[in-house]
Subunit: 490 residues, 2 copies
């Protein structure tokens, strides 16, 4: 047991340092003065060097060899430490630091380029990130598929082939649903009016509270691209404000509350251990999406939100709660993934998946990315991209080096679909509570079946245990067809 | 030269990590959710462990032995690295981490205790900090004086004996000046009215800008105890707001702008090297105090500030600029060091110096501290402490483990006095500029003579080179007697 105890004590500090790195990232996106980006890159690179050295420390290999776990929790800890050690050992320290430095800098440049629609400045920076990530992927893949090697970082066990097969099964039903909706002749009105920033933020706080967000362990700030960060007793969320579109702020907030609550609801006994974090990006996204969509965009919750909007602004921008619900769920070919309706959302992800696979394989050059993006967008969404910030500059991911991350969004939607079916069976009074702005039945069920377990179980096993069957895309597609079929009277 | 280059590359990462630790401290005091304090303690302790390991890394000793410096800059770098290595090697890693963890936690407890005047909860926490710091001091002192060992961390070369001698020389003239003022029968009115928080913060930003604070590399936030933190391209300031006393916010801001500008004005070629930081706490304080007092509390600048107050609030709370100037410099026996006038300020420091020396030597038990504080305060200031937050709970320092830090405040005032005399000779149009809110002549002179050099020279040598003579207390006392003699017609 001494080797196990020594390993866990060492790991505890590694986990703490990794939270520090996350906090630096949060600061960079919310608080950091604009001219500090290069210095921050050095700071993050230095910290990444420390983390890499710890993950690959020869003592870890030795402890792993000798450590005995007393129970299944210990076994899960060892499995995750072994995984991290093995993966990290394949990547040279210098490369890990170069990636940390370059992605930190690239993120700042991305934000500036997005603000002024400047593709020309962004592409060389992206090319360098891609070069480094391909080098990393080659180290990890050991002759295997580069994209698989990157994807595995975010969703253990997933491969490009399984993702592609999942997309192939989903795509026809989604395209058919989209076609039926757009051909229905119905197009509910968007909200009318403008909604002041302060009011939106006040309402965002109210909505986060309605979802049980724990303010004593979190906070809400503004960021260009909403995100959540941290864990344990400090997990923070961000949102953004568009005065003409309060849904942007409100549903970004709910989405990030989902991510953050997952981290905050993990069993506190797991704090600062490997299983003390969300198990995968897919499961993470299942929590943010079920908070945002299945709960937040339900008719019941929309009715409550309609009243809150009226109370905050004097008007909700819609004639009545039904019109508000229709506006919340309006389906149309928008440019922006994070603002997409539930029908279009996964089509955005499929497009990014194909483009980033081509970038990583080398089939698509960075110089040709804008044309490839715009062609594909016109073909999938039926409209032309009108400016780069509505096109390839919209997402932060690639500048952060997050190639292989996008598919986990759809995987998260798929898991959310499965969980929602099981939740409705387990929480029969759900709609009645949501209509009062009371999400506690739903969030308690998610905490008990998913969130508290952290990284203890494998993603597929966790979802299967929570729902009673292996995850597949059926429940999500059934849910979408039923919801939008009723809304658009298909 | 290879050993030197290797050492400096290693040191660059150490400096970056040390900036990360500083950023965590900033976050803790400005942004961190309240329930995150314990986790933050773990994070800071883990990072402190990394820093300690790097400072004591055997490779550093080896590089130091073999490194040759090409010039005096290289020699200064090696001197500072050697100093840090030698000091750190004397303190066991476990103790360094315990101190980091305990002071991080104690700081949060201090803030809570101060808010509710709770001495009983605070004292055991302070006792543990003191125990750890005495243990550290014993490691550092190697049989010598414990207090000297701690003081040397903040002001290289200073000792309790030299500080006590300096205080003995200053005290009679300060006490006499105080007596004459309080016995003069004159007591200028304080400002009248209440000044809204938003207006104070807007004016604080304006005043910081007037001092040339670089917002692209900094920011202003609220904190319980104002401080500045960071360096290079990211040095941030904090302030606090008392609606009845706008000087609290405004002069705290100017003070921290002084600290922060020092760090921001260091030659950028020194960034992320040992000489890329302010050279000592005393010199640091000289910059904050000369910005705050000799410049900010001058008649000329007060005239400009009077107009800005009128523009911001419709009233400056005083009949005219002369009355405003008198209010800015009103002398009275207040409880709070950071709000003390220039005459009383150093008497606060002398009191803390004696108390903390007694704590560190073991002559004073933590359990007797409150009585000792209150007795001494009544004796030196002629009034009884009315509540602990006006007494021993007012300063964050001891909870942070900063024993030996207080004397550097008075040393800073002494340096500021010397610098101000030289500055007046070098910048003849000073008062005319200050009356327009233009500090650029003064700040440019400080940047050129002091700030840009960072840690390149020893404190005493730096001040001597800037002023033309070895620093002593004469100029400060002459300045105080002249200024307050005129104000109170002594």
């Amino acid at each position: 047991m001494t080797a196990y105890a020594d390993l866990m004590a060492f790991q505890r500090e590694t986990e703490a340092l990794s939270l520090v790195a996350e906090r630096l990232g949060w600061d960079q996106e919310t608080m950091m003065p604009p001219a500090a980006a290069d210095q921050r890159g050095e700071e993050i690179a230095a910290l990444e060097g420390v983390l890499h050295a710890r993950r690959t420390d020869p003592r870890v290999a030795d402890w792993l060899e000798r450590a005995k776990s007393a129970d299944d929790i210990g076994a899960a800890q060892l499995r995750l430490i072994r995984r991290s050690h093995t993966r990290s050992a394949k990547v040279p320290a210098r490369l890990a630091q170069d990636i940390a430095r370059q992605t930190s800098t690239a993120q700042g440049i991305w934000a500036e380029c997005r603000a002024r629609d400047d593709v020309a400045t962004f592409l060389p920076v992206l090319a360098e990130v891609l070069r480094l990530k391909r080098e990393e992927a080659a180290c990890l893949a050991g002759g295997g598929d580069l994209y698989d090697a990157l994807l595995d970082d975010y969703e253990p066990g997933a491969t490009a082939a399984t993702v592609a097969a999942m997309f192939d099964r989903m795509r026809p039903r989604l395209v058919a649903l989209r076609g039926a909706i757009l051909g229905s002749g119905r197009d509910p009105a968007s909200l009318t009016g403008s909604f002041a920033k302060e009011g939106q933020m006040a309402l965002a706080r109210k909505v986060a509270s309605a979802y049980g967000y724990d303010w004593s362990r979190g906070r809400l700030d503004l960021a260009v691209h909403p995100f959540s960060s941290g864990s344990g007793s400090d997990s923070r969320i961000t949102t953004r404000v568009v005065e003409a579109d309060p849904f942007n702020c409100l549903y970004s907030t709910i989405h990030e509350v989902g991510h953050s609550s997952y981290e905050l609801n993990i069993d506190p006994r797991y704090a600062l251990t490997p299983i003390g974090r969300g198990v995968s990006m897919g499961v993470h996204e299942s929590q943010s999406r079920i908070y945002e969509n299945q709960l937040g965009r339900s008719r019941a919750f929309a009715g409550w939100l309609f009243e809150q909007m009226q109370a905050q602004f004097g008007t909700a921008g819609a004639a009545d709660a039904d019109a508000f619900y229709a506006a919340v769920n309006r389906v149309r070919s928008g440019y922006i993934r994070t603002e997409a309706d539930e029908v279009h959302y996964n089509l955005h992800v499929m497009m990014r998946f194909d483009l980033e696979r081509a970038l990583v394989s080398g089939d698509l050059a960075v110089g040709d990315l804008e044309a490839a993006w715009n062609d594909r967008f016109r073909s999938d969404f039926g409209v032309a991209v009108d400016r780069p910030s509505h096109g390839l500059l919209q997402d932060v991911h690639w500048s952060c080096g997050l190639f292989g991350y996008f598919p986990t969004y759809t995987l998260g939607n798929l898991y959310a679909g499965c969980l929602y079916g099981a939740m409705r069976r387990a929480v029969p009074s759900l709609d009645m509570s949501l209509a009062q702005g009371d999400t506690s039945g739903a969030t308690a069920w998610l905490r008990d079946t998913v969130q508290r377990h952290g990284g203890r179980y494998l993603p597929q096993d966790l979802i299967a245990a929570a729902t009673g069957s292996a995850p597949d895309e059926g429940p999500l597609l059934d849910y979408l067809e039923a919801k939008f079929g009723a809304l658009y009277r298909l």
